[in-house]
């Protein structure tokens, strides 16, 4: 089946270019957030009380549940507003980066316009719902 060619994207600042840039910058932001988590954990006695796997879980998502099963004696310092903000930032960058990537992959193999538009809507909806659930989990744990 022949499909209609897509129109060429416009030059300059437009949504696809901004998302291309966002993908790169959010990757760097996630690296920075992870490094913040690792350094803080090491300052809070992770070297004596945590395994490398636990440290990595914490650095991907600084949630007190990720410390509950380690030898850390007191997890009060691992809770609180600072870590919730870091966690929500991580969720925002990871969610937007990941679902935009998912959409990119889907669109590479789908050439029907209506299906592409439908998927854009679905992925956007998925992003909003998963972000809401994730923020709820972060704020209640």
């Amino acid at each position: 089946m022949r499909t209609k060619p897509r129109t060429a994207p416009q030059r300059g600042f437009h949504f696809d270019y901004l998302m291309w840039l966002f993908t790169r910058l959010s990757a760097l932001a996630m690296y920075l957030l992870s490094i913040t988590g690792i350094i803080a954990a090491l300052l809070m006695s992770a070297r004596q009380n945590m395994t490398v796997a636990d440290l990595m879980r914490w650095s991907f998502m600084p949630n007190p549940n990720h410390v509950a099963n380690t030898n850390i004696p007191d997890i009060e310092a691992w809770k609180g507003l600072f870590w919730q903000v870091i966690g929500i930032l991580m969720l925002f960058f990871a969610g937007a980066h990941g679902l935009h990537g998912l959409l990119n992959i889907l669109e590479d193999y789908i050439s029907r316009t209506w299906l592409r538009n439908l998927l854009r809507g679905l992925v956007l909806l998925l992003w909003v719902v998963m972000s809401a659930i994730g923020i709820y989990v972060i704020l209640t744990s």
Binding site: R2, T3, P5, R6, T7, A8, R24, A27, L28, Y31, V52, A53, F60, N65, A94, G95, G98, L99, G101, L102, I105, D108, Y109, S111, M130, I133, G134, Y136, V137, T140, S141
Partner: protein, 129 residues
């Protein structure tokens, strides 16, 4: 040219692009794996705290706590992170694109030892040692 393509998934996988193509396809697989894992993990974290969903949450937990899934997901996360850093550096400093093959070599030099050690630890724990 890219806008007129009509390439199926299997045809795309058969394309013989050597090293750069391999990193490209692994980057995509890794990204999809991470999306799958993070979505499951958020859902499980949410459900385990609800009175009506605890058992479903714990069931989803057992899926990704399995050591075979961990081998897969750690490959995805580590490869995507390291290859992503290479892409970011090459894209934000375009002059370095001249060295992209060396970049890929460097990337495997970083990836293989870290993943190898993790693989050893995961399999040893998985087999109960």
């Amino acid at each position: 040219m890219g806008l007129k393509r009509n390439v199926g998934l299997m045809e795309a996988l058969r394309y013989q692009g050597k090293g750069p193509m391999l990193t490209y396809i692994l980057h995509r697989i890794g990204g999809l794996g991470i999306v799958l894992f993070v979505a499951l993990h958020i859902l499980a974290g949410f459900l385990s705290n609800q009175a009506w969903g605890t058992s479903v949450g714990i069931y989803i937990n057992t899926i990704y706590e399995h050591w075979l899934f961990q081998i897969f997901i750690f490959f995805c996360a580590l490869f995507h992170a390291i290859n992503g850093l290479r892409i970011v550096i090459l894209d934000l400093w375009p002059k370095l694109i001249e060295y992209q093959r060396e970049g890929i070599w460097l990337e495997w030099f970083v990836f293989i030892p870290i993943y190898g050690i993790a693989l050893f630890v995961i399999i040893r724990a998985g087999l109960g040692g």
